[in-house]
């Protein structure tokens, strides 16, 4: 077993300083350098699949298919896409402009930010640390990686493998818990990327504020799934079950709770029970495809929810502490003041709130923080549109769960308390870059410019106005004329 060694606190400022100094040498700017690093990152994953299989199994009892789909496969793909498109992403972007300005060639240069900090999370310990890293490296930055210490084995494995695949002059790993992270947050970074809880997100942003460091915060919330009466219940049930139980419910975009139109809840529960059986057999605890809760803290938190809920546990409910096992559980007829409706569940427990109208559900969602994801299961696209129009969320999926995470062309992130900023694919490159507006004039044609300079005259002003700007005249306000 690999034990995780925390980085000595006294070493932390120096490591960051080293990377900051490396950045100023220009080492990470050439595209060829970045591509080599990206290939290294790809191979780090590709050549060690078996080792990662073992480490995440130890951390979370994560099944290999979930590891591939949600983590290793995704990272390999991100690296491949970045290598393939880097030239395009990094190329200066010309900007359309007025005739007068065209000879000044206005364009945007993509500049790296400098040295950035990426803090990962334990639930997807590889993806949530390395997907941002792909973009950060592609953008030409130096990177400090801070894996979650809660997923100990994976953090230890990454620490061991990293220097064999990536140039330690520009990418380093720092390990630790609260004390080490506090010191890390005191250092000067050019961007801080954090995935985790809102409470820590606030701490990170407050620390970033001290040096005006921009942040990307990938947080969470209670992602609702609306299920309307008209839905194909069998299909919806499978997709919801898949979404809830992937990674044993420990995913930031898991459907947290269901808002179900009265009349179909019994059928839905029945179909979900069938889906659970199909996926995990009669006894999920013995299935190789079902995972475990990350640690005792979270197990106890979830167990408490099961013990205190006032809803009816209609599926599952059994737990085993020494195995960190919680059965796939469905709780029916949950009321809004139930303990299960307080905070993000982040576990394999699915409360179902039965409503008479969808609008009740919409109102509830709007009274609370904007969630990271919002799901709608319906055949009625007008209803789906109505729900989307009247709610806010990081992302939305109609008739499936979790897949928005897989489409790297769609920016992934929250809004309001579910997060600031977004990433995946090219967007990751963008958030770790500065779009540097650039204009190149020449030192000729000075006479032409005197029109903008003092001494100012009426004539100069009108000429300049005519030359530079459009003339538009809007009609009088139609409202005041009673015409609107």
């Amino acid at each position: 077993m690999s034990e995780l060694t925390y980085t000595p606190i006294d070493d932390i400022p120096q490591i960051v300083q080293e990377l900051r100094a490396t950045f100023l040498t220009g080492l990470t700017r050439p595209l060829a350098y970045r591509k080599e690093q990206l290939k290294g990152l790809h191979n780090l994953i590709a050549e060690n699949e078996a080792l990662f299989k073992e480490s995440v199994y130890r951390d979370l009892r994560k099944p290999p298919q979930e590891l591939m789909a949600g983590e290793t496969g995704a990272i390999r793909q991100e690296a491949i896409d970045a290598i393939k498109h880097l030239d395009q992403w990094a190329a200066p972007q010309s900007v359309k402009t007025t005739l007068l300005n065209r000879m000044n060639k206005p364009h945007i240069r993509k500049t790296p930010l400098g040295t950035v900090l990426i803090i990962g999370a334990w639930n997807l310990p590889i993806n949530l640390l390395l997907a941002p890293a792909v973009g950060a490296i592609a953008a030409g930055n130096c990177v400090i990686l801070k894996p979650s210490e809660v997923s100990t084995h994976t953090a230890a494995l990454l620490t061991r493998l990293l220097p064999k695949y990536l140039d330690p002059r520009s990418v380093r790993i720092i390990n630790g818990a609260a004390a080490e992270t506090t010191v890390l947050l005191e250092q000067k970074f050019d961007h801080m990327f954090y995935t985790g809880s809102g409470n820590i997100g606030k701490v990170i942003m407050a620390a970033a504020a001290k040096q005006l460091t921009p942040v990307t915060l990938e947080l969470g919330g209670k992602s609702p799934a609306f299920v309307s009466k008209d839905v194909d219940i069998a299909v919806a049930a499978r997709r919801l079950t898949f979404g809830k139980l992937f990674n044993t419910g420990q995913a930031c975009i898991a459907p947290d709770y269901l808002i179900v139109e009265r009349g179909i809840e019994q059928e839905l529960v029945k179909e979900m029970k069938l889906a659970i059986q199909e996926f995990y057999g009669a006894s999920p605890q013995t299935s190789q495809s079902y995972g475990r809760i990350i640690n005792k803290n979270h197990f106890n938190r979830l167990k408490r929810l099961l013990d205190t809920t006032r809803g009816e546990i209609v599926v599952g409910g059994d737990t085993q502490e020494d195995d960190l096992y919680i059965a796939p559980t469905i709780v029916l007829d949950v009321k809004l003041d139930d303990p299960l409706m307080e905070a993000e569940i982040f576990g394999p427990i699915l409360p179902i709130w039965v409503v008479d109208t969808i609008n009740e559900g919409i109102e509830y969602v709007n009274r609370n923080d904007q969630p990271l994801a919002l799901y709608v299961y319906t055949h009625n696209m007008k209803l789906a549109d109505h729900i989307l129009e009247n709610t806010r969320s990081g992302g939305a999926v109609i008739n499936d769960s979790l897949i928005q995470f897989m489409v790297t062309a769609l920016p992934f992130g929250g809004t309001g308390p579910s997060g600031i900023g977004n990433y995946h694919g090219k967007r990751t490159f963008d958030i770790f870059s500065h779009e540097r507006a650039t204009l190149v004039k020449n030192l000729g044609m000075q006479k032409a410019l005197t029109i903008s300079y003092p001494p100012y005259t009426e004539k100069k002003t009108s000429w300049l106005d005519w030359l530079l700007f459009d003339k538009v005249k809007y009609a009088d306000n139609a409202i005041l004329k009673g015409k609107l």
Binding site: G26, R76, L113, L212, S287, N366, G395, A396, T415
Partner: protein, 506 residues
Amino acid sequence: MTSNVLHFHTDAEIHKAAETARQTFRSGITKPLKYRRHQLEQLWRLIDDNTDLIIEALKKDLHKHKNETVLGELVPAKEEINDALEHLEEWAKDEKVVPALINRVGVTCLKRKEPKGATLIISPWNYPFFLTIGPLVGAIAAGCTAVIKPSEVAPHSANVMTDLFARYLDNSAYIVINGAAQETTKLLEYKWDHIFYTGNGTVAKIIMRAAAQHLTSLTLELGGKSPAVIDEHANMTVAAKRIAFGKSFNAGQTCVAPDYVLITAKAQDKFIKELKKAFEELYSKNPQNSTDYGRIINNRHFHRLSKVLHENKSGEIVIGGQTDEKDLYIAPTVIANVDRDDKLMEDELFGPLLPMIQVADVDDAIEYINSKDEPLALYIFSSNKKFANKVMDSTRSGAILVNDTLMHVAEGNLPFGGTGPSGMGSYHGKKSFDAFSHERSTMVKDLNPVSEAAMSVRYAPYNDTNLKVARLVLESVPRFKKSFVLKHFKWIVFALIFGIGFKRFA
């Protein structure tokens, strides 16, 4: 509390404004494009109908000449409005996204452009109208509501904006609140969906700390010391003229004014001579008598600038240096041979003082620039592409302008913003709309049993076959490991998936 010109709002009024902005947003009235369009047109009329009033206010606040008001504030503001009106539909419509092959079957992927919600806009005193209206255009275009806090340091402008916004815009959606530090602190206690601040780094840190409490996203348009690097082979006459203009515009109180100059000993004397000529051409031998030259905004800033001018331990004043407290006048002033760590080189000057630092060569200049915070703008004066590129590629800054000063601000299609301590986020044109919008990634699938069958590979029970198939479908083989056969095998695999899927689900 109140200044003698501007009425400050009470806590109760501030509370009401925040609540109203939030409720109005929730009501949904700001979402239809028709509404947003109307508010933008009103904003345009506000400026067009009241140009004289605005010119008057700026004259009182900053001794700003009409030309600078029109060209530096009103025309750019109107341009932003026109840009938004012309492109509103385009900016606001759903943006389709084409995903990787596997996800293209039976799925529509798009990004909805949605307003963030109720927002707070805090603007500064130096270009009070443009720097209030610019962000406001973004908020309106995006469908947000906004509470607007103009700077009390330019009270006549704040007054005019308070009055005009109330008359022209929907008062339930766009509300002006006036005050100073106390009132701003109160405003920051509320939960906003975005805060847009233009001003200095010290206050920005306070704002960001407050925003962190609610995890509120931010746009911070700050400043810094924007250097002008001069290639000794460049045309000194033109360079001097452009730098003199950029420095004196608004009496140097511009976030992107060339703050200081980096020049070699060889070129220095010629450059100073040209600068002297340039200032005289612009404002005559006695700028204090020119109606075109501005004044320092208030006593506090006047004293700040006098202090840093007279307490500098190095360098000599080669142009200007005259000050007149009663008139809040400081002449366009150039100080040559300043030490790199002089007091003049600590903070953003934000006034008509131009220090000159001697450098050995371009590498020396680059090293000095990199030893300081990333500036908002970087000016390079050179006709030599290699020289310019070297400076650009070895430094960081919000923006770069080669061979001129200030002009990039007027290019609406370029993002305007800083990096590092000079700011976060950007705006102007579509970027303003983006700053106040959330891109809501959306996927639309059907509940068709056929597609369900096709996808079944992703479900448990997991086994090695499923894994292999799923991998083949999801992964592309990297070019550096490519095998011709593998590339084409994918199509057979698709058929396989359907087969497995039907068997399990149908």
